[in-house]
């Protein structure tokens, strides 16, 4: 059984925000104004050691959102993807407080600015309603997993920094990359340390 994960290779991410755009495009029917399921954060921008990381729901194996939800609306698919049921979600915001990655978001469209149903990355795996139904597209967005495809953000990553897939597979890809790059200055002619020369 697969355990689907995202992995972002910080040595490859060039902060093009293509994954963000791909996500918004793939799930456009489900995303209301102000919701952005994926974001790219750049650390030490313009300084030595600059690194960009694309982040969305990490589909935790021990998900805090799932544990804290008063409505118990989260569930984990056979592929280890953490999804939630918007019919049960009460918009209390606890998952947003508990999530380390800031993945859950809430549309503010009701009176007094109260929260609507929570929205987050579904790993392009839809929701608890029938696959490819109108309801699924409107509430949860794409269901590429049911089509046998990976999330669009990773599929469209121009530098293949963002990897999606079974944890075993993507971590072995990443391991091969690290081995090929080696440590800084160990292999002649290749120093992966971004902007380290300017230190």
């Amino acid at each position: 059984m697969a355990v689907m994960k995202f992995l972002c290779d910080t040595k490859r991410c060039i902060e093009c925000n293509g994954c963000v755009t791909a996500c918004s495009n793939s799930n456009s029917e489900a995303l209301v104004w102000g919701i952005q399921r994926r974001r790219v954060v750049t650390l030490k921008e313009g300084e030595p050691g600059e690194a960009s990381i694309s982040v969305a729901c990490m589909h935790c194996t021990d998900a805090p959102c799932m544990a804290v939800c008063p409505a118990n609306c989260f569930y984990r698919t056979d592929d280890g993807i953490v999804l939630h049921n918007k019919a049960t979600c009460i918009g209390c915001g606890y998952c947003f407080y508990a999530c380390p990655f800031g993945a859950p978001q809430f549309p503010q469209k009701t009176s007094f600015g109260s929260r609507g149903k929570m929205d987050k990355c579904t790993y392009c795996a839809g929701g608890p309603v029938p696959d490819f139904s109108k309801e699924e597209v409107e509430l949860y967005g794409a269901n590429r997993i049911a089509e046998g495809k990976l999330p669009l953000c990773a599929e469209m990553c121009s530098t293949k920094a963002l990897l999606a897939g079974d944890a075993e597979v993507i971590s072995s890809i990443y391991r091969q990359r690290v081995a090929a790059r080696s440590n800084p200055n160990v292999i002649w002619g290749y120093d992966p340390q971004t902007a380290a020369d300017f230190k």
């Binding site: 974001r39 954060v41 690194a51 109260s114």
Partner: protein, 333 residues
């Protein structure tokens, strides 16, 4: 502008309430930044900084979008799930059972001279209305709050999905809308009743004989002195005043997402809200037991506003002597 200053005020309040919860993560930050300063630039250091909550730049605009990892909320979740939720369960079941057993063993506290039939004015009409306004809203909040806190463990496993979705949604909506109603009643009651609730020296003696409610052993037949409110009622009042302030403040913070509070502050608010609820619910169970079952003639005070003269003499002798002496004693027509 108002929302902004309100947000700042609320943030400050909650930070003051719970500085101790924040300290560990602050220490972790400092340690990490020291490691950062000493170490060479490396991937390990970068990830350590990310885990410690380093803020980067991003095009995303939601709250704290620049923070990649914030572990505080997960720690709060552990406190909530492992300590606060079980404590709530223990308090609801425990306090109720203890009082049930005590009542079955002890029996009610009867009036030693029986009912006199003469009714003395104790609560004004306004007081009675305020009391029931607060009581009904509080009770609605307790039932819906308990469902929100423990429902997924004690209700959801036994019912269908649709029914559960309806119940939890109903409870959340009621909790949101009744909360401000309770806040208003609570604020008026606390301010109006506070002058009669200051502790006096005879209140200590009230505790020493457990209020005179025990019908066996050395405490049997004891009737300690008490003013308008006895020491137990004063304790209830001040608990409700203090934890009511906490629960109302944190409740208002949580119900307005427009405040866009930082996640740490919101999580602390959830925890403070839960702890305050435990205290208030514990006292509420005791209060209802005392009024309905344990103290004979006690419930009458909040039905009509009048109490039996013998009840006043037995349970609130200092108050009775005082109103008799200054002529403010008023009988029911």
């Amino acid at each position: 502008m108002m929302i902004k200053s309100l947000r700042r005020l609320l943030t400050l309040l909650v930070v003051l309430m719970s500085v101790s919860v924040v300290m560990p993560s602050y220490a972790a930050n400092e340690q990490t930044s020291q490691q950062m300063a000493n170490a060479e630039q490396s991937t390990a250091d970068m990830w350590r900084a990310v885990k410690a909550g380093e803020v980067g730049t991003t095009a995303a605009t939601e709250v704290e979008a620049g923070v990649l990892i914030n572990t505080f909320g997960n720690e709060g979740k552990i406190i909530k799930n492992d300590y606060i939720n079980p404590a709530m369960m223990a308090v609801v079941v425990g306090v109720f059972s203890i009082f049930l057993i005590f009542f079955l063993v002890n029996g009610p506290s009867k009036l030693t001279k029986g009912f006199s039939g003469k009714m003395v004015l104790r609560w004004s009409r306004a007081d009675v209305i305020l009391h029931w306004g607060m009581a009904i809203s509080c009770f609605a909040l307790i039932l819906t709050g308990l469902t929100i806190m423990l429902g997924r463990h004690i209700i959801q496993p036994f019912i269908g999905h649709e029914a559960w979705a309806f119940i939890i949604h109903f409870c959340k909506t009621v909790h949101d809308w009744v909360g401000p109603v309770f806040f208003v009643f609570w604020a008026i009651c606390v301010l109006k009743w506070m002058p009669r609730q200051t502790f006096k020296s005879y209140d200590l003696k009230w505790f020493l004989v457990a209020g005179g409610y025990i019908n066996f052993g050395p405490f049997k037949g004891k009737h300690p002195h008490s003013g308008y409110a006895n020491a137990g009622e004063k304790m209830w009042f001040w608990s409700l005043a203090i934890f009511g302030l906490f629960i109302c403040t944190t409740g208002l913070m949580l119900v307005f997402p427009g405040l866009a509070l930082p996640r740490e502050v919101a999580m602390i608010a959830v925890l403070v809200h839960g702890v305050s609820a435990i205290v208030i619910i514990g006292f509420t169970i005791v209060h209802i037991w005392m009024a309905t079952a344990l103290s004979e003639g006690g419930l009458e005070c909040m039905k009509s506003g009048y109490c039996d003269e013998n009840w006043a003499i037995q349970h609130h002798d200092i108050w009775y002597d005082e109103i008799k002496a200054n002529g403010s004693l008023k009988y029911q027509d």
